[in-house]
């Protein structure tokens, strides 16, 4: 009797395991599976709204949220997702899988922040310790570029992943000089007004987020891709013209419901700043974006070779943005 019941229990457990694994199986064919490399935050409103609008125009979209940008890129190569978000130049160059970027969403915006009791300008950072995101990351490249532009050499560079972690460390005083994203820079100014100085960053232009997919996917799903690119371009232009649109879009499509009503103010401020800085791509990037990216990412060590000799076609498929610009006009 015990034997029988044990066997039954095991059988039920096995059945339950297999049953619960079923919904994780392959997605509906025909849907565009878009992989986010991070939990969508306020900086994703533009992309999320463009996706909603593409849905309205009949494109089936399924969102996949992953923990890491590298994972998103791997999901594209492995065929578990169709469109990724990020700037996977390293992967495109090293892995020899035909992935192509096809539309830029926004350019990088990072803010070197220093404790104003210790430092006032770039010159003061000569030989000093700074903290950046990770070895070979965009934040490190921004710091190195600006150090070079100001004729100084940075001292020890330590790696502290997470802008919010560096923000907390700056407030606690464990870090004196670091670099954070827009949201955390504003938080720093709000939490400790006057305690920190934001150092100027000029002439740094590189992709923060861009859409990418395999070359095959772009070829065989051109119609869906075109709709997504058009909507992305339109949303970017609308928000740049009037940042308040971002809040309207959020409420219209009920995006990021977890943020609650407080999110609106934050989103408005964020996009006001982003629009003023011209960080949203109005024409989808393409060749211009690629040239900036080559220079920036080879300095970061993510691309090998002389930026001047790299070919745009090896990294980008500009046909979708060309078609969208032809339809919507150039801005």
């Amino acid at each position: 009797m015990t034997k029988l019941s044990r066997r039954t229990v095991l059988a039920i457990a096995l059945a339950a395991t297999i049953g619960s694994a079923m919904p994780l199986g392959p997605a509906h064919a025909g849907n565009m599976r878009i992989a986010f490399g991070d939990l969508p935050g306020i900086e994703s409103i533009q992309t999320l709204a463009a996706i909603e609008r593409a849905k309205e125009r009949g494109v089936g979209v399924e969102l996949i949220i992953l923990n890491d940008e590298d994972l998103a890129a791997q999901a594209i190569v492995g065929g578990q997702a169709d469109v990724g978000i990020g700037a996977p130049y390293t992967l495109i160059q090293k892995v020899g899988v035909p992935i192509r970027l096809f539309a830029q969403i926004s350019t990088l915006r990072f803010f070197p922040v220093v404790n104003s009791e210790s430092y006032k300008s770039w010159k003061d950072l000569d030989g000093q310790e700074v903290a950046v995101q990770a070895r070979g990351s965009g934040t490190e490249a921004v710091m190195l570029l600006m150090a070079k532009a100001n004729g100084i050499t940075l001292g020890k560079i330590s790696y502290v992943p997470g802008s919010e972690v560096r923000r907390n460390a700056l407030i606690q005083g464990t870090l004196k000089a670091s670099i954070v994203d827009a949201a955390n820079r504003r938080a720093l100014e709000a939490e400790a007004p006057g305690k920190f100085t934001v150092l100027p960053v000029d002439n740094v232009s590189a992709s923060d987020e861009a859409l990418f997919a395999t070359a095959d996917y772009l070829k065989s799903n051109a119609a869906d891709v075109d709709i997504l690119v058009e909507e992305l371009m339109k949303t970017g232009r609308e928000i740049t013209e009037n940042p308040a649109v971002a809040v309207e879009l959020r409420n219209k499509y009920k995006l990021l419901p977890d943020l609650g009503a407080d999110g609106d103010k934050e989103i408005e401020e964020y996009y006001k700043e982003t629009a003023e800085a011209g960080s949203l791509a109005l024409n989808g990037g393409g060749t211009d974006a690629a040239t900036g990216d080559f220079a920036f990412f080879s300095l970061a060590g993510q691309i090998e070779g002389d930026p001047a000799t790299l070919k745009v076609d090896d990294f980008w498929d500009v046909s979708a943005i060309d078609r969208a610009v032809a339809k919507l006009g150039k801005k």
Binding site: T90, A134, G136, Y159, V160, G301
Partner: protein
């Protein structure tokens, strides 16, 4: 006739230990060779674009050792690992013995360690960083959170389940409380305590890698994340392989020390 001869030969080869031991070394090497071969084939198919061949991984390993990045990485990884493991070993065996001997201690402490052992510890690590920041303390603690429960629980169980007749014998020879602990309980419990220590060391390796991947990328964790972000998969696998190899080697050395120094009766086996 032939059959019986063959049987005899079988019996002889089974009985002669040295013959078997030679073969067992051969078999072990074959097992490693088979694994390497399967890896090489899987890498050549390839299973995934991110899966390098065995030979590429070995070349990457030699390169990492030669340019000094792997030794430097280990220098920084081993600090929290050693500190955490040594602290856990002393604290764990001490606490475990205490709980095994003293009922009040058992009720107070053992539930905590059972919960810790059952908990998905990776989820604790962000909490550790909130309290202890991102430095060496947090990493050492991550090692201890993983290593301590298994050492404490094994020691406690071993001490609690000491052979009753040995205890009775000690009492009948008028052994003092101290003699009971030092001469009967600890020696009798030592095999299980050592098993717990080995498990604890293995858990410590898990802890240090988790900490270096989740807290700040230094040492081995830095090499893994950096090479992954650069799509240098051979280097990434070489790093992962090296920490697995080091962990295995450490466990083998521990077992050897245990048998040599503490359990002479097992030496011949």
């Amino acid at each position: 006739m032939e059959n019986s001869l063959r049987a005899e030969r079988g019996a002889v080869s089974l009985a002669s230990h040295s013959g078997w031991r030679d073969q067992s070394i051969l078999l072990r090497f074959m097992s490693i060779a088979l694994f390497a071969g399967a890896w090489e084939i899987a890498g050549r198919i390839p299973v995934s674009f991110a899966f390098p061949t065995f030979s590429d991984t070995m070349v990457a390993f030699v390169k990492l050792v030669a340019d000094g990045s792997l030794p430097t990485a280990y220098l920084s990884t081993l600090q929290p690992l050693l500190l955490g493991v040594v602290l856990s070993a002393f604290l764990g065996v001490g606490l475990g013995t205490l709980c095994g001997l003293w009922r009040a201690g058992e009720w107070l402490l053992i539930p905590v360690f059972i919960v810790l052992q059952a908990a998905p510890v990776a989820a604790f690590i962000p909490m550790v960083t909130f309290i202890y920041g991102i430095g060496m303390t947090a990493k050492t603690l991550a090692v201890m959170i993983l290593a301590l429960p298994v050492i404490v629980l094994n020691t406690y169980k071993a001490v609690r389940n000491v052979n009753e007749s040995l205890l009775v014998m000690c009492r009948s020879f008028l052994g003092t409380r101290w003699q009971t602990v030092a001469k009967i309980i600890l020696p009798d419990a030592s095999p299980v305590i050592f098993a717990g220590l080995r498990l604890g060391v293995a858990a410590g390796f898990v802890g240090v890698v988790l900490a270096e991947l989740l807290i700040t990328p230094t040492g081995i964790g830095d090499l893994i994340t950096f090479h992954r972000s650069r799509a240098d998969y051979a280097e990434m696998y070489a790093t992962i392989g090296s920490i697995i190899a080091l962990s295995t080697l450490t466990l083998i050395v521990l077992q050897w020390i245990e048998i040599r120094l503490f359990r002479p009766e097992k030496r011949g086996a």
